[in-house]
């Protein structure tokens, strides 16, 4: 996504040179958000697959599909591919994404899935179509929550296992995490919170049949979906000369080194709006940062602008559209400004000390997007509370 958006931005800016796109997947680049939702529940999953941008074919891109880059020399801007081809370039966009984390030792077990790529989704869909007796989702993050919701929509029995005491416990204040937990339970998803996974048991044919929890419980399961985060794809950049620290480290303009920009899940940069180093895995960040990075690559250093977004994402779970704008953590204050946690729709502000940091909305997208602008404006927590009551 970020790479194609960067290419699109450069074409729109009038760049008519060669743009070569390297990617290890063989599919036409596709949009990922539907994979955990519509792709798993639609009668015909192919209706949920769409190209990453509608004008992909008109961008004049040269493809190296099904190929991966194995090294980069930051000094000469040479990229070496897995088949030995060396691409010489005047500029490099690093949009190599991230890989889903797996449970060690489960790679070869049938019935155990991660969900990141279209091939992952095809494999999971096939297992769900086989009417499993129970699906266990490991990790109550957004991917886990969406997969659980999709399984419930299909009428499957689902258990979500989460090591933290609340869903999204690292990124949401407890009131909101509790709401997420209640949403699961209200839709018949069983939750096992605050307990880790000891291991998976397989039957004689090498297929998973149970999940063993740290407290000794054993949950029978035909399908296991592991949603425990991602690892940025930076291993191939060891020795490149770039700074790697849980992502490719860029400056505030997305520049990682002269002639090299990074964007999307793989990029870490200091967001001047929050004064904080970030690496975001949201769809919209891949879009916006890709455009910014492509533009940055063509700009003179003196004209380069800082990338200062208010992070935003949505998650569709059951019949709810959840949106979070901003940046928050477990210790922040929460103030309901519309509705209550028992309502089908509500909006809560999230802040701490002097600052409005985020807005969390359920089925209230317009309100969330309005408050997103206030976050961008950097208004104080007191002003935010006053504004919401006036």
């Amino acid at each position: 996504m970020a790479g194609v958006r960067a290419a699109q931005a450069m074409r729109r800016a009038g760049f008519d040179g060669v743009i070569t796109v390297v990617g290890d997947e063989t599919h036409t680049p596709y949009d990922r958000p539907p994979l955990s939702k519509a792709f798993l529940v639609a009668d015909d999953p192919s209706t949920a697959v769409r190209p990453v941008v509608p004008d992909l074919d008109s961008l004049g891109l040269e493809w190296r599909r099904g190929r991966s880059a194995v090294s980069l020399d930051a000094a000469t801007l040479a990229v070496t591919l897995d088949d030995g081809e060396v691409l010489a370039a005047d500029g490099v966009v690093l949009a190599c994404g991230a890989t889903a984390r797996r449970l060690p030792g489960t790679e070869d077990l049938a019935g155990v899935h991660v969900l990141r790529t279209l091939d992952d989704a095809i494999g999971l869909r096939a297992d769900l179509d086989a009417s499993p007796r129970r699906v266990v989702v490991i990790g109550a993050g957004f991917i886990g929550a969406e997969v659980a919701a999709s399984c419930r929509t299909r009428g499957l029995d689902v258990t979500v296992v989460e090591a933290l005491s609340l869903p999204l416990g690292r990124v949401l204040p407890p009131d909101l995490g509790r709401w997420c937990a209640d949403l699961h339970r209200a839709h018949g998803t069983e939750l096992r919170l605050g307990v880790g996974v000891d291991g998976l048991d397989a039957d004689g044919s090498g297929r998973v049949h149970a999940v063993r929890l740290a407290d000794g419980t054993v949950i029978a399961a035909d399908v296991v979906v592991v949603g425990i985060g991602v690892i940025p794809n930076t291993q191939w950049l060891d020795g490149s000369g770039l700074t790697i620290d849980n992502g490719v480290v860029c400056d505030a303009t997305t520049l990682a080194a002269p002639g090299i920009v990074a964007a999307g899940d793989v990029a870490r940069w200091r967001n001047p709006l929050f004064g904080e180093s970030m690496r975001l895995e949201h769809w919209e960040n891949a879009v916006d940062m890709g455009v910014h990075a492509g533009t940055r690559l063509l700009a003179a250093d003196g004209d380069a602008e800082e990338f200062a977004p208010v992070p935003w994402f949505w998650s569709d779970q059951y019949d709810r559209k959840i949106q979070l704008a901003g940046r928050c953590d477990a210790g922040d204050s929460v103030e309901l400004i519309e509705g209550t946690f028992d309502d089908a729709r509500f909006v809560a502000l999230i802040g701490r000390a002097e600052r409005l940091k985020g807005v969390f909305g359920v089925n209230r997208p317009a309100v969330v997007n309005r408050w997103r602008q206030h976050i961008a404006d950097g208004i104080s927590w007191d002003d935010a509370l006053q504004l919401s009551s006036g």
Binding site: R50, E284, P365, A366, R370
Partner: protein, 66 residues
């Protein structure tokens, strides 16, 4: 040459990203539906409408040349 804003309402999920970019053109109301307030905006609005097209999570908005 002017242009027309087109929305595929089968795809639209009312994420309201377009409304944040161009509130004079796109409005998501309390009924959760998107309303296009002006489907033939002035050509000077083209960059903002293009941004709404590009950032729509559902690829539900398009520009038709008139």
């Amino acid at each position: 040459m002017g242009f027309k804003v087109e929305v595929d309402y089968d795809k639209c999920e009312s994420n309201a990203v377009c409304m944040a970019i161009a509130p004079e053109i796109f409005e998501v109301r309390d009924d959760d539906f998107l309303y296009v307030l002006n489907d033939t905006p002035d050509d000077s609005e083209r960059p903002r409408v293009q941004e709404a097209v590009d950032r729509c999570p559902k690829q539900a908005i398009s520009i038709a040349e008139l």
